[in-house]
């Protein structure tokens, strides 16, 4: 008569819930500790890695450079010297030779290519107002076709002496990509045949970047020359 109906097995009891919360809490805590620990252990190494990569690229674009200074342009066109390489805003690297003389500037730029954004570095000589080197950092262009903007020797030859003069915030001759084999002027980029879209993306990238960044550099040239 006094038979008790047993509760259904799946009914969540209060005890059970507390157990779950406790377990999940412990697991999360454990994981959290692990993650933080790893982060602390690897943070310096990662930063160092990133910096090395960047500085190696700069050194590649400005051969013979012994000292590098990283600048960033804040929102109002104000120039700031940075300690590490991490920071906000448009970055560029000033490279100095053994005598401490400004050898050139390496500017970061990016533009949408065929598949994704092509990010690149190019070196710029403030003295002659020309682009003197170009290097793709990251991209997802079609292998064998668009990705030749990274390696095609004929294409990279465009950037040995590319006219990038700026007057009153406008380029004198906007940098433009022309059909393969049709380059006539120093401000033109000879496209890779069969990879027109990627080549044009590079042209647009440089044209925009030159208009945005080089006036700031020219304005603050004496400061940069002093490495401040």
């Amino acid at each position: 008569m006094s038979q008790l109906i047993p509760p259904p097995e799946s009914a969540p009891s209060r005890e059970n819930s507390i157990r779950m919360v406790r377990l999940l809490g412990t697991v999360s805590l454990m994981c959290g500790v692990l993650i933080v620990g790893t982060n602390l252990a690897t943070r310096d190494r990662i930063r160092q890695n990133q910096e090395t990569i960047m500085r190696d690229s700069v050194a590649e674009l400005l051969p013979g450079v012994k000292k590098q200074v990283v600048y960033s342009i804040a929102a109002k066109g104000e120039l700031k010297v940075m300690n590490g390489i991490e920071g906000e805003g448009q970055r560029f690297f000033a490279g100095y030779d053994a005598q401490g003389k400004l050898a050139g500037v390496v500017i970061e730029a990016g533009e949408r290519g065929y598949a994704d954004v092509i990010s690149a570095l190019y070196s710029y000589s403030p003295a002659t107002q020309t682009i003197i080197g170009f290097k793709v950092v990251d991209m997802r262009e079609t292998p064998g076709l668009g990705d030749r903007v990274r390696s095609d020797e004929g294409f990279l030859a465009n950037f040995k002496q590319l006219d990038a003069r700026v007057e009153n915030g406008k380029e004198v001759h906007p940098i433009v990509t022309v059909k393969h084999g049709a380059k006539k002027n120093p401000w033109e980029i000879d496209a890779i045949s069969g990879a027109t879209i990627s080549s044009r993306a590079v042209g647009r990238m440089l044209q925009k970047s030159v208009e945005n960044v080089t006036p700031v550099i020219q304005k603050n040239l004496d400061r940069i020359e002093r490495g401040q």
């Binding site: 779950m20 990662i46 890695n49 079609t142 292998p143």
Partner: protein, 213 residues
């Protein structure tokens, strides 16, 4: 997998070999296709991805197995994910610390190890039922099997698609690479070729076994 009974028992006893070959996660179980197809366009990427996954699996299965008796049934998936995600984050840091170019190449795919069905499947099917050492061995075996499969695919794709192996040119400067193999569709095609070879081999073994019995 049309395994006969004895070999299943056998497989339970040798978790490491099992994952590496007999129940290879890619060629036999066809799991974890996202990284298999996305990350195998060069041998280097394939090996790195495989090793990262191996590490995640071995570590997280050890942890899961250690607390397997404490995990309530209702929240086991959440627990697995938390542990695996933790291991993945650790790998993310480690890869960055080891080499930035590899990190750039693997890109978004390292965080995706969490949602790789292979990782979760083995946690659910094996690690939450077996002791710690066996679970870690299983994770290691499965992970290496995965890495092996990825490497196979990576070799096929890099050699055909770029004419190189680990960056070395194999066929001289006049080789015309089949760029297709570096692109996503090439991944599918290469995988199909390898799966076909595996299936063909298995069928022949079965026929041989039938003929013997």
């Amino acid at each position: 997998m049309t395994e006969t009974k004895p070999s299943v028992i056998n497989a339970e006893n040798t978790p490491f070999i099992n994952g590496l070959w007999r129940q290879n996660p890619v060629f036999v179980m066809v799991l974890g296709m996202c990284p298999t197809l996305a990350i195998t366009n060069s041998v280097r990427n394939a090996v790195s991805m495989g090793l990262a996954t191996t590490f995640v699996m071995a570590v997280s299965y050890g942890m899961i197995s250690a607390i397997r008796n404490l995990i309530p049934k209702q929240v086991r998936i959440a627990t697995f994910i938390a542990i695996i995600a933790c291991a993945v984050t650790v790998v993310d840091f480690l890869v960055k610390a080891i080499s930035i170019p590899i990190y750039l190449a693997l890109g978004a795919y390292i965080p995706l190890i969490v949602s790789n069905c292979l990782t979760l499947e083995r946690a659910e099917a094996y690690a939450c039922k077996q002791p710690v050492v066996k679970s870690m061995l299983d994770g290691l075996g499965m992970g290496l099997g995965f890495a092996f499969a990825l490497t196979c695919l990576g070799i096929v794709r890099e050699v055909l698609g770029a004419g190189t192996f680990l960056g070395f040119h194999l066929f001289g400067p006049h080789f015309e690479p089949l760029v297709l193999f570096l692109l996503p569709p090439g991944g599918f095609i290469a995988l199909a070729i390898l799966l076909l070879a595996f299936a063909y081999r298995k069928e022949r073994q079965l026929k041989k076994a039938e003929a013997q019995s």
